[in-house]
Every structure is written in structure tokens, then in C-alpha cells.
């Protein structure tokens, strides 16, 4: 018996903002926090909390630089983060596939009754 796709969902990744962060970083060398904030439409505090959780899970890495006297925080996705994003997308697709297969089956409760 195959495991239900719900078990493939990673709690560190499975959250709207975290998925957005990983997807936004996936094809890039790095992006700064300001760019992520604008792209995802979240507050500094909210983004900071999710970035910290992702960093603790080893899915992203943050570096701080000071260019032109301005401090800047850069974020990049790690190899583990890239794998986690790919696995999460697959798990969600499998889950939706299972739901689709279920909805294609006739519902016995809705079958027209032949009883008179």
C-alpha cells in the first residue's frame, strides 16, 4: 500500500510565504530581503520569521553586506532548499491527483435510487 501524500509534505516548507520565498529564490543566485518583501507582499516581521525558520531548517542561507554604507541582507536557496521545494510541489500535485481521482468516482449516496 502506498503512503498517503500528506506524509510527503514538509512542515518547514508547507506554508504560503515559505513556499513563495523558496520559489522566488529557486532560479536566482540570490535576492535581497527588500525584493522578497515586495514580491511576496508581506511585512518585515512576517518575512523575518519565515526566513529564520527556513534558515534553521537549512533551506536558505542569509548573508549581510554593507554596500555604500547601507546594510543589506541577501538570501539564497540551498541545495537542500531546492530539493525540499521540488518534493513539496510533487507532494501537492500527488495530493491533488488523488483528490481528482476520488471526485471522478461515482458517489453512492448520490446514485439515483431504483427503490419505489
Amino acid at each position: 500500500m502506498t503512503q498517503h501524500p500528506i506524509h510527503d509534505i514538509d512542515d518547514d516548507v508547507h506554508q504560503r510565504v515559505r513556499l513563495g520565498i523558496l520559489a522566488s529564490l529557486s532560479g536566482l543566485a540570490k535576492a535581497d530581503v527588500k525584493h522578497l518583501k515586495t514580491t511576496l507582499g508581506v511585512t518585515d516581521g512576517n518575512l523575518g520569521r519565515h526566513l529564520q525558520a527556513l534558515e534553521e531548517a537549512g533551506l536558505v542561507a542569509q548573508t549581510k553586506t554593507t554596500g555604500n554604507g547601507r546594510p543589506r541582507t541577501w538570501v539564497k536557496i540551498t541545495a537542500k532548499g531546492r530539493r525540499a521545494l521540488r518534493d513539496e510541489i510533487r507532494a501537492l500535485q500527488r495530493l491533488l491527483g488523488d483528490v481528482g481521482a476520488l471526485s471522478d468516482q461515482p458517489d453512492p449516496a448520490r446514485e439515483p435510487s431504483l427503490d419505489t
Binding site: L28, D32, T39, L92
Partner: protein
Amino acid sequence: MDPIAAELALAETAAAKRRVDGLVRTAMAVPLRLLALAWIVLCPIALLVGRNHLGPAVGIALLAVTAVSWVRYRRVARERGVRAHLWPWLAVAVIALGGGAAASRSGTGHGLAWLNIAGPFVVNALALLALAGFVRSRAIGIAAVTMLAISFIIAGMLSGDVAVAVQLAAYATVLMVASARIAR
């Protein structure tokens, strides 16, 4: 888990991925435009030094394109807070240089004029075709296929250094058009 929430999460992730893919494609316009300029500069050099002595000039041109692209990527990162990878371009440059030199030499060695004249260009076009697949860019893909067709036509019609110079000019034009399309 709620299937609607799962569907929404997938749709949002796909939208974020599409935005990033767009940024990566736009970033690729920088080295392609510079490569077009390099090929234009190499046109008269090919006629002056001859096609079999063009290797060092091509190497310097690709190195210059890479260096300027790197500086430009850094500046874009400072201004917009996003930095794209330069390694897809580096892969194209290495394949174009190494594969091109090998094709040209084996064409001379085996007495195959076609391979000597069009081989390096075909390698360059194939590397760009692979790049198009990697960054999912139709504009780069169309440019690469056009380049392949150009090389086959020119190698069948012209010969010698003129054939190489005409290919360089044609490739530069195609690359200019492609980079303008992806930068839009």
C-alpha cells in the same frame, strides 16, 4: 489537507517560479547583446588574420563578454536586489570556445572545408539551443535554430574567410534581435 489550499499553494508557487524565470531570461539578454557586439568586432578581424588564426581573438572576446556581464549582474543586484546566475552563460562560452576550436581544427586536419568554416558556428548555435531549453526562452531557441540554418546556407554558398565573416555578421544580427526580444 484542504484540496483548495493545496491548489492555491501550487498556483502561487507556479506564479512565483514564472516571475523568476522571466527575470533569468531578461538577465540573459546582457551576455547575448555583448556577444553580438563581439561577433561584429570579430568580422573585420576574421578577414584580416584569417579564420584559422581567429581562436585567440574569440577567446578574448568571450572573456570580455563574461567579465562585462559579471560587472553588469553585480550592478543590477545592487540596484534591484536580484542577482541571476552567470554560469549558464559561462557554460555556453566554454562550449563555444572549446567545441568551436575542436571543430575548426578537425575540419582542417581531415580536409573538410565545411567543418572548418561552419563547425565552430554550429557548436555555438547548439550551445545556445541548450541554453534556450535551460532558461525556457523561445526567443533564444528561435535564434539558435536560425543560426543553424544560416550556417548551413552560408557554408553551402561561400568559402574561406568571407564565409566566416558573413556568419559572424549574421549571428550578430540574430543575437541582437533575440536579446532585444527577451529584454522586453
